[in-house]
């Protein structure tokens, strides 16, 4: 019983796509708040450089590579969906989800290593930011994976193929946030 309102398109964009863009608008300011707070603190706390030196650039780089590759599969899934090939789109979405899983597993090992070296969320304000910012991002990775799994299962049956694009838009956003987090948390020593 979808209302007629859902199928209208006065603005010229599909309703679902428009909704996802507004969702992203609200997410941008959440991460914007965290990152601006982080940057302001970073500028006024020179000693954060000492703490930041403990983060592992290579792990961060590997995770950046994993996420970017997963985004590539999201794009490929979109192009498959555009050609109406639901099965292929679903398979490519599962590759994207796999990328998210590798990212999270890597993150888990990384955090475990850091925590075992005594760098926990309550060690100092730098580590509070480090774990909180990456943690909020990781929760978005998980949400994106769940959303894509739902979309992929439908797409495999040839249903709701237009949703593949929307899931992809969201995943690119998750990716983009990491592109900001990586230099701020890992590279800026």
């Amino acid at each position: 019983m979808t209302p007629i309102a859902t199928s209208r398109s006065t603005a010229g964009l599909p309703t679902g796509t428009l909704g996802v863009w507004w969702l992203l608008a609200s997410e941008i300011v959440i991460f914007g708040g965290v990152l601006c707070s982080y940057i302001m603190h970073r500028l006024s706390h020179d000693w954060w450089a000492v703490e930041a030196a403990n983060t592992n650039v290579y792990i961060g780089l590997w995770n950046t590579f994993v996420l970017l590759t997963s985004s590539l599969f999201a794009v490929l899934a979109h192009s498959a969906a555009q050609q109406g090939d639901g099965k292929l789109a679903a398979r490519r979405l599962w590759y994207t989800i796999g990328g998210g899983a590798v990212f999270l597993i890597t993150k888990g090992f990384e955090w475990r290593m850091e925590i075992s070296h005594g760098m926990t969320i309550s060690s100092s304000s730098f580590w509070s930011f480090y774990y909180t910012a990456a943690g909020i991002h990781a929760s978005h990775v998980i949400a994106g994976m769940i959303a894509m799994a739902v979309v992929a299962m439908d797409a495999a049956k040839g249903k709701f193929l237009h949703r593949v694009e929307n899931a992809g838009i969201y995943w690119h956003f998750v990716d983009l946030v990491w592109i900001f987090l990586f230099p701020l948390l890992y590279i800026a020593k």
Partner: protein, 566 residues
């Protein structure tokens, strides 16, 4: 709510709707009108709690140490809890759900001429999360230590350290509830914006959208763009309280002023988030009851957008005494004074719309005019507080308190009454009693002024807010008679609300049956049955003209519905 079975049969067949169970109709509904009512009744229930809290702490304030009937002794920590949660409830659980969510849900699909919101299930989820947030907030009053008592602005370190606020569990519940509530309104806002952008009736161009739809959409955009930092801040505060992080703790390299920035970056646009829907509703009511076209529709629209953008640049005027750089204080003084210009312009627009109109002083019109008069005082006193020099003196006094009650009371309470009395026939299919409505208006507006005008003077004389008892302050204790006058006025005002509740439920059961368009209004919500059935319109309308074509010289009738061809 006997209308649930009033579905037009022809329409039901066309869309395959069928009779739904009580559970599906009232608790699991995706119908925008039902969700609007859920938001409205939840908001009104929360208003009763917020009003009761105000009663309890004002009684302690006026008669220290007395056994307050219905509450008992108000201890100092009770007092903190009451003032904190009065503010929180009235802003986040009354103004937001009723003004933005209830009227947004009810009016947007009807006014833009479609059958529902674009994402009905998201809409239902939004209400359910909101209800959960209200339950979490109320549950927080009953945990060991009692409800949060660190003021509704929750400044750390007071809010972050259990040893300071003495309500460690209550403060965690409070932060959680606020964060959940924000998520609920984000979901609702996405729906409002997308529906208004994408699902307008054929022929409805941007300048044909009724102003109240615009204002709710702009309010949703403002909310969406401002609340993120505070959601992030709420997570940080939650972690500071429970995980020992150091975001707001200077000993660990954090900064308590960071919270103030995150809070007010949201907190100030929030004023406009709730103000704009009320401004929109007042515009609709004035046009209908003055039988005139809204003065300068396009200018109003640009003014609203301008206000929205400016509202992001004023937040630090709440922090003039928090140790910010005096040069920054200058900048924020200028932006704050600038934002009074568009708001003053809006009030002039209303007066210009009324000018030479054919005015009917119905209950909704009285509320609309009452809004203009009282909000004006709120706006003018804000200028003293937005100026850094005078704010240093006025900060945290009763002058501030009276100022924001003169803004928020017109916005949240008067705005709600204006909207409810105006759209009641459409919502429930029956007319409200006009005599009781007018009695309620006068018995609310007069005591309201009697409460807060004296408080302005108390503030000018140096009375600091959030003080449990003034007995020990010799230079302030002599004003106790004024405090008692304000409290007695509050009692009168609260008692008058019984009239409204009585009128509401009496009219719901036995009011005169409302015709589809009892006020001869133009906008689309009046062109469908009262109350609208599931699916709203028997045939979805097409729009031919703007919403305010009243008293058109070429026509015999003084109104010209948006959907009537030629």
């Amino acid at each position: 709510m006997a209308h649930a079975v009033d579905h037009a049969p022809a329409h039901d067949d066309a869309h395959g709707h069928h009779e739904q169970s009580f559970f599906m109709t009232y608790l699991w509904s995706t119908d925008h009108k039902m969700i609007a009512k859920q938001y409205m009744f939840t908001g009104m229930f929360m208003a009763l709690i917020g009003g009761f809290f105000a009663y309890a702490f004002r009684m302690q304030n006026a008669f220290p140490g007395m056994h307050v009937p219905g509450f008992g002794m108000v201890t100092p920590s009770d007092y903190n809890m009451l003032v904190t949660n009065h503010g929180t409830i009235m802003i986040f659980w009354v103004a937001m759900p009723v003004l933005v969510a209830a009227f947004g849900n009810f009016l947007i699909p009807l006014m833009v001429g479609c059958d529902d919101m674009v994402f009905p299930k998201l809409n239902r989820l939004s209400y359910q999360i909101f209800l959960l947030s209200a339950i979490v907030l109320i549950a927080g009053f009953f945990v060991p230590g009692g409800g949060f008592g660190g003021a509704w602005t929750a400044y750390p370190p007071l809010s972050a350290v259990g040893n300071y606020n003495l309500t460690p569990a209550g403060s965690t519940f409070w932060v959680l509830a606020v964060a959940l509530e924000f998520v609920a309104f984000l979901l609702g806002g996405i729906n409002f914006i997308t529906t208004s952008m994408n699902s307008r009736a054929p022929g409805m161009k941007l300048y044909d959208i009724p102003i109240v739809v615009w204002t709710i959409v702009i309010a949703s955009i403002l909310f969406m763009c401002s609340v993120g930092p505070l959601i992030a801040g709420a997570i940080m505060l939650l972690f500071d309280q429970n995980l020992g992080t150091g975001f707001f703790n200077p000993a660990m390299g954090g900064d308590p002023v960071l919270w103030q920035h995150l809070f007010w970056f949201f907190g100030h646009p929030e004023v406009y988030v709730v103000l704009l829907p009320t401004l929109g509703m007042v515009a609709e009511i004035i046009c209908v009851f003055a039988r005139k076209k809204l003065f300068a529709y396009q200018t109003v629209l640009y003014t609203m957008f301008g206000t929205g953008i400016l509202s992001f640049t004023v937040w630090a005027h709440h922090q003039f005494i928090s140790g910010i750089d005096p040069r920054m204080a200058n900048v924020f003084t200028i932006t704050t004074l600038l934002i009074s210009v568009p708001i003053a312009e809006m009030l002039f627009v209303y007066i210009a719309t009324l000018y030479k109109g054919s005015i009917t002083l119905s209950t909704p019109m009285l509320w609309a005019l009452g809004f203009i008069a009282t909000f004006l005082i709120g706006g003018v006193t804000g200028i003293y507080l937005g100026t850094a020099g005078s704010d240093v003196y006025f900060h945290d006094t009763y002058f501030v308190l009276a100022h924001f009650h003169y803004t928020f009371f017109p916005i949240a309470i008067i705005g709600t009454f204006a909207g409810v009395t105006h759209w009641f026939p459409k919502m429930f299919g029956r007319m409200l009693d006009e005599t009781l409505g007018k009695l309620h208006f006068w018995l609310t507006i007069i005591p309201f002024n009697c409460i807060f005008i004296p408080l302005f003077f108390l503030g000018l004389w140096g009375e600091h807010r959030r003080i449990y008892s003034y007995e020990l302050f010799d230079e302030l204790w002599k004003y106790q008679g004024i405090r008692q006058f304000a409290t007695v006025s509050l009692l009168v005002m609260l008692a008058a609300q019984v009239i409204f509740i009585f009128n509401f439920f009496k009219s719901l059961r036995s009011g005169a049956i409302a015709s589809p368009n009892p006020y001869n209004a133009n906008t689309l919500e009046w062109q469908c049955p009262s109350p609208p059935p599931h699916g709203n319109f028997a045939e979805l309308p097409t729009v031919y003209r703007g919403p305010y074509e009243y008293s058109h010289p070429d026509r015999k009738e003084d109104f010209w519905p948006q959907n009537s061809p030629a």
